[in-house]
């Protein structure tokens, strides 16, 4: 059967991999290709690259590093960052990306999801969702989270948006729970489980991984298809081979 995926996420800013806490205060973690190769060698199932400043700056992702990654990496990778049109998506896919992920531009113009699905098939189209619980208890989406000065809270409920994204042709959803992101206390299992119940395409958990148990809980309790993390992998706090051994011992189906 299909295995559960472990997905290091590389936030890209000015051609380097960076990591912030709660989406702020970015620190340079290393060179894109070096980190990509390291994770490939360690057994990562997939990589996600977010050009985190592309959308707030109103530009599309830089193709140069996509080509460099594609030429050396033999595992799948997804690219996100300010992709606003079929033509921009085509350029990124032709540069060698396997999937493209849209977030803020899809919120600006939801029809983009359907256009991408029609052009490339739903399996290429990932919708990233940044979600935060508001004071009234509802989860709602955030836009332009790559730049704290431009981040906007939208009236759109996270659950409504995930249903709409699937109807429009999303082939995968990455749910980033901003309330738990960067603080390593575990994924937001409550939110993930609620979303899982109405998400019929692959669902990837994002935000909050701090220990191997957190990955297990996301798979076992929220039934997500993949778990994404950044800082615990970049810092070496969690090594992917040991993580996969633990998950296998706990009965999670992972690729060795």
């Amino acid at each position: 059967m299909l295995s559960r995926r472990i997905i290091p996420c590389l936030d890209v800013r000015d051609g380097k991999v960076v990591k912030g806490v709660r989406f702020r205060d970015h620190v340079v973690m290393g060179e894109i290709v070096d980190l990509a190769l390291r994770y490939r060698d360690e057994g990562a199932d997939e990589l996600v690259f977010y050009d985190i400043t592309a959308s707030p700056e109103g530009r599309s992702v830089d193709r140069g590093w996509v080509e460099r990654v594609a030429s050396v990496i033999d595992i799948p990778f997804c690219v996100a960052g300010g992709i606003r049109s079929v033509e921009e998506a085509r350029a990124v896919l032709h540069a060698g990306a396997d999937k493209i992920s849209v977030n803020s531009p899809a919120l600006e113009r939801p029809a983009l999801i359907g256009e991408l699905a029609a052009a490339f098939g739903v399996q290429c189209v990932v919708v990233g969702v940044d979600s935060l619980r508001d004071a009234d208890g509802e989860w709602r989406v955030r836009q332009y989270t790559g730049d704290p000065t431009r981040t906007q809270a939208l009236p759109r409920r996270t659950l409504d948006w995930i249903l709409e994204a699937q109807q429009r042709g999303a082939g995968e959803i990455v749910l980033n729970c901003m309330g738990s992101d960067g603080v390593r206390q575990g994924y937001d299992l409550e939110q993930l489980a609620v979303v899982r119940a109405l998400c019929h395409v692959p669902l990837i958990a994002s935000g909050g991984a701090g220990a191997p148990e957190h990955f297990h809980d996301a798979f076992a309790q929220a039934d997500v298809d993949g778990a994404l993390a950044a800082s615990v992998f970049h810092s070496g706090a969690i090594a992917i081979p040991a993580l996969k051994q633990s998950l296998a011992a706990w009965g999670v189906n992972v690729r060795p």
Partner: protein, 196 residues
């Protein structure tokens, strides 16, 4: 001469080309019938939908050309599906060199569509395309439609039901997963194809 990649608008052409480069082969990207006809090996990549994929091959005048090829041909992902007779995707007539109808995965409890991620490739038959591989390997899949089992199946994958993940019929071969994104196993499969 050499290895050519048929440029039918498939979006994984870049990554297949890079995978071949890692094996020391510089494949030409072409949609020219004469170049395809005289190549040693022909690869039909493809990510996308069956209807637009076939429409593009028709526009390029390549449908009969590909059907009549006698050298080893490899279809990858959608490229493999296009080798079949029909696809349920848009009810599309395909190239018809493998006697199969491509079917959409029915959603079942716990089976999400698309089938996306690493799954096992289980050998069903001996074939030079599978040389050096174990009976049970991992490969990376991204698809919503699949080729049912049949005597053309060299290997199978279990996603609720078994489907054919490596097929072969005469000089035509197909891989449903992405060898260019399936780490060492994928590289070995591509190398085996290049040595057919």
């Amino acid at each position: 001469m050499g290895v050519v990649l048929v440029d039918a608008g498939g979006t994984n052409i870049g990554s297949v080309r890079y995978a071949l480069q890692r094996l020391g082969v510089d494949a030409a990207l072409t949609s020219d019938a004469e170049t395809i006809r005289t190549a040693d090996k022909v690869i039909l990549p493809g990510v996308g939908a069956a209807g637009p994929g076939m429409a593009r091959l028709r526009e390029l005048g390549l449908v009969e050309e590909i059907r009549s090829l006698t050298q080893p041909v490899l279809g990858v992902c959608l490229g493999m599906q296009l080798l079949c007779e029909r696809s349920e995707e848009g009810d599309t007539a395909c190239l018809g060199v493998v006697p199969a109808t491509v079917r959409r995965f029915a959603e079942q409890p716990g089976r999400r569509v698309p089938h996306m991620g690493w799954n096992r490739v289980r050998r069903q038959r001996e074939h030079p395309l599978l040389a050096g591989l174990g009976d049970d390997e991992w490969a990376y899949f991204v698809h919503s439609y699949a080729v049912p089992m049949g005597d053309y199946a060299l290997a199978s994958t279990d996603y609720g039901d078994d489907f054919a993940c490596v097929i072969s019929r005469g000089n035509f071969h197909g891989m449903q997963f992405h060898p260019e994104r399936s780490a060492k196993v994928g590289a070995r499969l591509l190398k085996n194809f290049l040595e057919l």
